[in-house]
Each structure stands twice: as structure tokens, then as C-alpha cells.
């Protein structure tokens, strides 16, 4: 670890927080109906889109109507993407003549991108046409992020609502999040990336005759337009197999810093938007402090482990220094470690180094962050998880101090607790059950690249990544078979939609409740003491459910490594 590297990591996180606050305020103004100076520009444009889609902007929706519409349009878009993958061989914009995807892989890929996961059982440069990269992948990278954000916004309206049924209009929210946030940010960021060396072309691959007289086929394509929304939308699905480790996706230290900031921007902003919706900025500040602390600790655990290097190589071959296996020189250990922490905290899933080759405890942190799934979390989905754990924390602390649990002035009753518990328990269930099943099958074992406990980590990481809608991988796992494509596809869908459904049901019942004014008997949630309890709850719940699996995965591997070197 160096001082400069450490400062570099801290500066990135500080910039994310600093930009998140004004953006969070902006999102509040867009979605709370407070007027904005930009209305004059956007209103006529949006009216045009409403008319084209056939939307009546004045309709107010109940939680059921809002949720039904959200699910329906997600389903239609998923089918659309599936068809594009199946037909890409016959569709235009395919200069490298890529054939159709097999059905199971097409299902997995469609499920992966509609759920904002971006798990990739294919290699982009070989398995997707330019058209698929644009009209299926890039497209869903916008709409899946938008789906997460509007779900979070709808929930926030339920908290601030007073005895009402309405959560707003899904279509209006869904269109606005594109026009007022995602499209402008993506256009600017994509052009910046082109300027720094990310290709953006419809010309097919380039054949080069190298300096040593060999022939090298260089894949390229419309990369920058995908890369921008890949990060802003906390998607993470790369254009190329190597994702952001590929120099065309992430050509310099500077671009990787920008990509990290882009990942953190919207999830961080939404925490501030939440504070504005409940009229309590201190609540958002308390969450910022604790979540940032968890993020910083995680980033430095990775950084420490990676800079210490691999003792096995030092012992066997005399190679000392940073673990550079799977890393790029332009990022070095600090930016690779920061990226691994940020991509899993904000559940993006992009990688600029190969996580499978991280040191055991370096790979432990990304897994842990995905198991938490709320260290800011993905666009919208992260805030929903934070709110779910806030409800559970209020309930637990209410039990401890003997007060009626209430949050943001609304009483928490049996129904809300049951639903929050469902949303919470789905996550470990859909990770641990399929991991266990896969590891008991012959097929499952044949998918592993690495032997021993590291192989177990590969499968555990895969289902954790799917359930958390992250998409990063211990990429040694060869998961492109029908069994894994289907199970992982279902895990991604359950991980996404069961918790969204449960949270909407909570939103429905919260919206109807009267707001109780705070009194001296109210358990305040905007204090640092409560923030500490909140972290303790999600760490303990996370640790208890996942600890056995982590113990025989990365922790066990670390102990084995020490044992083998006679420490």
C-alpha cells in the first residue's frame, strides 16, 4: 500500500459523495412535482413521448397498478431482447457474421440484462452482433436501471404520502427518468469516453499486420455508447469478454476513475433523494457516514491483500510484490482494488481486474458486499434494500427497548414485518440452495476451473452475483450449459422481482397509514446510534446466514494458504 494509492481511493469515494448530494436534490425536484427551470425544455418533449406511447399522464396509480405495469413492460422488453439474440444472425448490423444464440444462453442473457445483473455466459466480441450490443444490451442497460429507480421513487412516495392510495404514474416516472437523467448523462459520458480512447464505430474488426509480422484480428464496435450506460446504470455487462480490464473499455487510469464515479453517482444520489422525500437530511447523512465507512474498509482490505502479493509465488519462485495476475498495469493495485469494492458495493458488476485471481481475502470482500447488497447498492434496488433493512432494524430495536416500532412517522405492523422478512430471506435462499445443488452434481463440478475451496468460491460467487443482480464473476467458472443458464437465469429473476414485489406491498400499506407526529417516545432513526445498530443488524444477519459458506470458501482458502506455508 502506498500513500498516493490510498489517497487515490479516498478521493474517488469523496467525489462520488460530493456529486451525489446535488444530483439527489435534483432527482427529488423531478419526482416530487416541485417545479424546475428545465421544465420548459423537457415538458414539450415528454408530452410527445407520452402521446407516442399512449400514456395519460394525469392518471394516478395504486401500488398494485404501478407494480403490474412495471412487471408487464419488463416482461415485454425481456421477450424482445430474447428474440433479438435468437435472430441476430439474420438481422442487419452484423459485420463480423455472428450466428444466433442458443435458446438457453439467450434466456440467461435476456434475464441477466432485464434484471440489471449483466451476468455474461458469453464473450461479447464473439457471441453478439453490433445490433444486439446496441438494441438489446445497451437498450436494457437503460431500462433496467430506470426500473430500479422508479421502484425506489414509488416507495419514497408511499412514505411521504398521507392516507392515500396513489404512488404516482409509472409511465410518467419511467419516461422522465430516461429523459431527465439517464440519456443526458449517458450522452455526455459516452463522448468523454470516446475522447479518452474508447472506440465507437460500426466498422467491423480491424486486421493488423503486427511489427513481428503476425496477423492480429482486433475486435471493436459501438463500445463507448454501451460503456457509458453500463456504468451509470450500475449494469456492468461489458462489450468485451474482459470487461473494463479490456483497454478498449477502459483505456487509462483516468477513465477507470470516471467509470467508478459513474457507478456510484445514482445510488449515492438516491440516498439523498430519500432524505429529501422524508424531509430529513440528517437521515441521509447518517446513512452516508455508515455506508461509506463499510465501503472504505472493504476497499482497503482488498488493497492490503493485493499489495502484499501472493506468498505462494514468493516462496516457490522468488516473485515478490503486488499480485498482478489478472490485473492491468495502468490501474495497478490501488485502482483495481477500489474498482472491485465499488463495483460490488454499488452492485454494478463491471470488473477492471479478474476477481477469480484476487487473493483469498481480496475476493472475500466483493462476495461479502454482494451478500449485503446494500452498501449503497444498485440504481434504485440498493435504496429499496436499505429501506427494507431500516424497517427490520426499527422492528428489532423496538423489541429491545419495548416501543411500538414506527419509521418516518408510520407505524410498522405485522404485515410490513412479514413482507420485509420475505424480501430479506429470499436473498440467502436463492444463493445457498442452488450453490449446494450445483456442487453436488457431476455437471456442477465439471464447471469449475480452480480446484479445492477456490472452486467452491467460484459457484458461491456466481449465485451471489446473480441474486444481488451484480453480474461480476469468478470467471474461471464455465457456466455456459443448459443447467446453469436456467438456474442462474431464475436466480437473477427471483433476486430482482420478489423483493420488488414485497417492497411494493409494503409501500401500499405504508401509503394508507396516517402519519404520527414524532414525540419523545419515538425511536429516532436519524441518529448515529441508530446508524450503528443498522450496520450491526445487516452485518450480523449477513454473517449468520452466509458465514458457513464463506468459512469453507474464501476464509478456508486463506487458512489453507497460511498452513501450506507453515505460518
Amino acid at each position: 500500500m502506498t500513500v498516493a494509492g490510498s489517497i487515490g481511493i479516498l478521493v474517488i469515494i469523496a467525489v462520488i459523495l460530493a456529486l451525489g448530494i446535488p444530483l439527489g436534490g435534483y432527482l427529488y425536484r423531478v419526482f416530487s412535482g416541485t417545479g424546475s427551470r428545465l421544465d420548459a425544455v423537457y415538458r414539450p418533449l415528454e408530452r410527445l413521448v407520452y402521446r407516442a406511447v399512449g400514456v395519460d399522464a394525469s392518471v394516478e396509480m395504486s401500488w398494485k397498478a404501478y407494480l403490474r405495469t412495471l412487471m408487464l413492460v419488463n416482461f415485454v422488453m425481456m421477450v424482445f431482447a430474447y428474440l433479438v439474440f435468437r435472430l441476430q444472425g439474420r438481422l442487419p448490423l452484423n459485420p463480423d457474421h455472428v450466428p444466433a444464440m442458443p435458446w438457453a444462453l439467450a434466456f440467461n442473457t435476456a434475464a441477466s440484462f432485464i434484471t440489471n445483473t449483466n451476468w455474461q455466459n458469453y464473450s461479447g466480441e464473439q457471441s453478439l452482433s453490433y445490433l444486439s450490443q446496441m438494441i438489446a444490451i445497451t437498450y436494457l442497460q437503460f431500462t433496467s436501471a430506470a426500473t430500479g429507480v422508479v421502484a425506489a421513487i414509488a416507495f419514497l412516495r408511499s412514505i411521504s404520502a398521507k392516507r392515500s392510495d396513489s404512488l404516482g404514474n409509472f409511465w410518467v416516472d419511467f419516461i422522465k427518468i430516461h429523459t431527465r437523467l439517464l440519456i443526458p448523462l449517458a450522452v455526455v459520458f459516452a463522448l468523454v469516453l470516446v475522447g479518452y480512447g474508447v472506440p465507437q464505430t460500426l466498422q467491423g474488426h480491424q486486421v493488423a499486420h503486427t511489427l513481428s509480422g503476425a496477423v492480429q484480428v482486433i475486435s471493436r464496435g459501438p463500445v463507448a455508447s454501451l460503456e457509458a450506460i453500463k456504468q451509470l446504470g450500475t449494469n456492468g455487462g461489458g462489450y468485451f469478454n474482459a470487461n473494463s480490464a479490456h483497454p478498449f473499455e477502459d483505456p487509462s487510469a483516468w477513465t477507470t476513475v470516471l467509470e467508478m464515479i459513474a457507478m456510484g453517482l445514482i445510488p449515492c444520489a438516491l440516498v439523498w433523494t430519500f432524505g429529501r422525500f422524508i424531509g430529513n437530511r440528517k437521515q441521509a447523512a447518517v446513512l452516508y457516514v455508515f455506508l461509506t465507512a463499510v465501503l472504505v474498509v472493504g476497499a482497503f482490505v482488498i488493497y492490503a491483500n493485493e499489495t502484499r502479493g501472493n506468498p505462494i509465488l514468493a516462496h516457490a519462485l522468488g516473485i515478490h510484490g503486488v499480485n498482478m495476475e489478472g490485473k492491468e498495469v495502468r490501474f495497478g493495485p490501488a485502482l483495481s482494488s477500489a474498482f472491485a469494492a465499488i463495483t460490488t458495493a454499488f452492485t454494478t458488476g463491471a470488473v477492471n481486474s479478474m476477481h477469480d485471481s484476487l487473493m483469498p481475502m481480496g475476493g472475500f470482500i466483493p462476495m461479502l458486499f454482494m451478500m449485503f447488497n446494500l452498501v449503497f447498492g444498485g440504481d434504485g434496488a440498493g435504496l429499496l434494500n436499505i429501506l427494507m433493512f431500516l424497517i427490520i432494524t426499527v422492528f428489532l430495536s423496538g423489541l429491545m427497548v419495548g416501543r411500538t416500532p414506527e419509521i418516518f412517522g408510520k407505524k410498522i405492523e405485522a404485515r410490513e414485518i412479514k413482507l420485509a422478512t420475505v424480501a430479506m430471506l429470499v436473498h440467502p435462499f436463492i444463493i445457498l440452495a442452488p450453490t449446494a445443488i450445483t456442487l453436488t452434481t457431476q455437471l456442477g463440478k465439471s464447471m469449475l476451473l480452480n480446484p479445492g475451496l477456490h472452486g467452491l468460491s467460484e459457484v458461491l460467487y456466481a449465485y451471489t452475483s446473480g441474486a444481488a443482480n451484480n453480474g461480476s464473476a469468478f470467471a474461471g467458472l464455465s457456466g455456459n450449459n443448459v443447467f446453469f443458464n436456467l438456474t442462474e437465469g431464475l436466480v437473477m429473476l427471483f433476486g430482482r422481482y420478489i423483493s420488488i414485489i414485497a417492497m411494493f406491498a409494503i409501500a401500499g400499506s405504508l401509503a394508507k397509514k396516517a402519519s404520527i407526529p414524532a414525540s419523545s417516545g419515538t425511536l429516532r432513526t436519524d441518529t448515529f446510534a441508530f446508524g450503528g445498530v443498522f450496520v450491526a443488524v445487516f452485518v450480523i444477519v449477513g454473517a449468520l446466514t452466509f458465514f458457513p459458506a464463506l468459512a469453507i470458501g474464501p476464509i478456508g482458502e486463506q487458512l489453507q494458504m497460511w498452513a501450506s506455508l507453515g505460518h
Binding site: A190, V194, P222
Partner: protein, 190 residues
């Protein structure tokens, strides 16, 4: 049912907007403002594309700088790392092979001098950069093969060394293609 038709209309309209118009607009503006970058930073020597500034290529010539080891043999249409875990015996084997190659090609170098990036495979398999230490260790070999002086080559590495951005982001390094182009030009081949 109304919402079903709306969903289909939304899907189609936004697929065209976000999946075609957006990338095509970026392509148009990108080609206009940054044609070199937009096409992949391709390098031409005497009118012929010899590679990309950003993509490592296999170098066999002892008179040129060699890039880092690649788990995919520098396939620029099939990027990737080794994905070998830190405790996997195959990793030790891979690094041992890479180390042997380095020691064989650069006599006089001892394993303790070798920086990890010189013998451990990159994440993309296409890492265009090497650490300064890696470059310096290759200089005696290049000098022998080309007849260029070691002092000249060391000066070259110093001249093209890229420093961390703002002093905090990244590591000191050199771009292999950049150095090799200068050597080729100097030798009258470029």
C-alpha cells in the same frame, strides 16, 4: 390489456431511441470529433495498420520490447485472463513458465529483480503497458539485438514513462507499442 399495448409501444419506441438513435448519434459525433480514438487508436506504418496503440500484440523479435504474458495469446478478438486462483498449483506452473521465458530471453536477470507484472498474466490478455522495471530489464537484450546503445534505450524509457494521473491514480509505466515504434523508426524500418 391497454397497458399491454402500451408496453409493446414503449418497448419498440425506446428500443429505437436508446438502441439505435443514441449509439448512432454517439458514433456520428465521435467520428467527427475524435476519428482516431473512435476507430480504436489504430497505428499505421507506411500506410498499413500494424496494430492498436491500446492493444498488446505478440512480439517475438528480441530487438523489441515484449508485452506482459497473455492467457489468451494476445487474441484481440477473444480477450480474457487466466482466471487462475491464488492457491491453484496451475498458477505456480504458469508463472514458472513465464519466468523461465523471461530469464532465458534476458540472460543476467535474476528472479528477485523480476517485477510481478512481467511474469503474471494481465486481466485482458491485451495489456498494452508494462512497468518501468519490466522495460529496464529488457534493455540489454534489445541493445544486443539491435546494436542500439543501452543509454539510448534507457533514455527512451524515461522519455516515454507515463506518470500516475494527478500523482495519485495509476502506476509508472510505459506503452510497449510506443517504444517499439520509435525503435523501428530509428532502425529505419518504420
Amino acid at each position: 390489456m391497454v397497458n399491454f399495448w402500451r408496453s409493446i409501444r414503449f418497448t419498440m419506441i425506446f428500443a429505437i431511441l436508446l438502441g439505435l438513435i443514441y449509439p448512432l448519434v454517439i458514433t456520428g459525433i465521435g467520428e467527427l470529433l475524435f476519428p482516431y480514438q473512435a476507430q480504436g487508436s489504430m497505428v499505421k506504418v507506411r500506410g498499413q495498420v500494424v496494430g492498436s496503440m491500446l492493444i498488446a500484440q505478440p512480439v517475438t523479435n528480441p530487438g523489441l520490447f515484449h508485452p506482459r504474458p497473455s492467457a489468451v495469446n494476445y487474441a484481440a478478438n477473444g480477450s480474457g485472463g487466466s482466471n487462475l486462483g491464488p492457491t491453484n498449483p496451475a498458477l505456480v506452473k504458469e508463472v514458472r513458465n513465464n519466468l523461465q521465458t523471461v530469464l532465458q530471453q534476458n540472460p543476467g536477470v535474476s528472479p528477485s529483480q523480476v517485477p510481478p507484472d512481467m511474469v503474471e498474466s494481465s486481466g485482458s490478455g491485451l495489456d498494452p503497458d508494462i512497468s518501468v522495471q519490466d522495460a529496464l530489464l529488457q534493455i540489454p537484450r534489445i541493445a544486443r539485438a539491435t546494436g542500439l546503445s543501452q543509454a539510448y534505450l534507457q533514455g527512451l524509457v524515461r522519455q516515454y514513462e507515463q506518470h500516475p494521473t494527478l500523482g495519485i491514480w495509476g502506476t509508472p509505466m510505459v506503452n510497449v507499442m510506443q517504444l517499439n515504434l520509435v525503435i523501428e523508426r530509428r532502425l529505419g524500418k518504420g
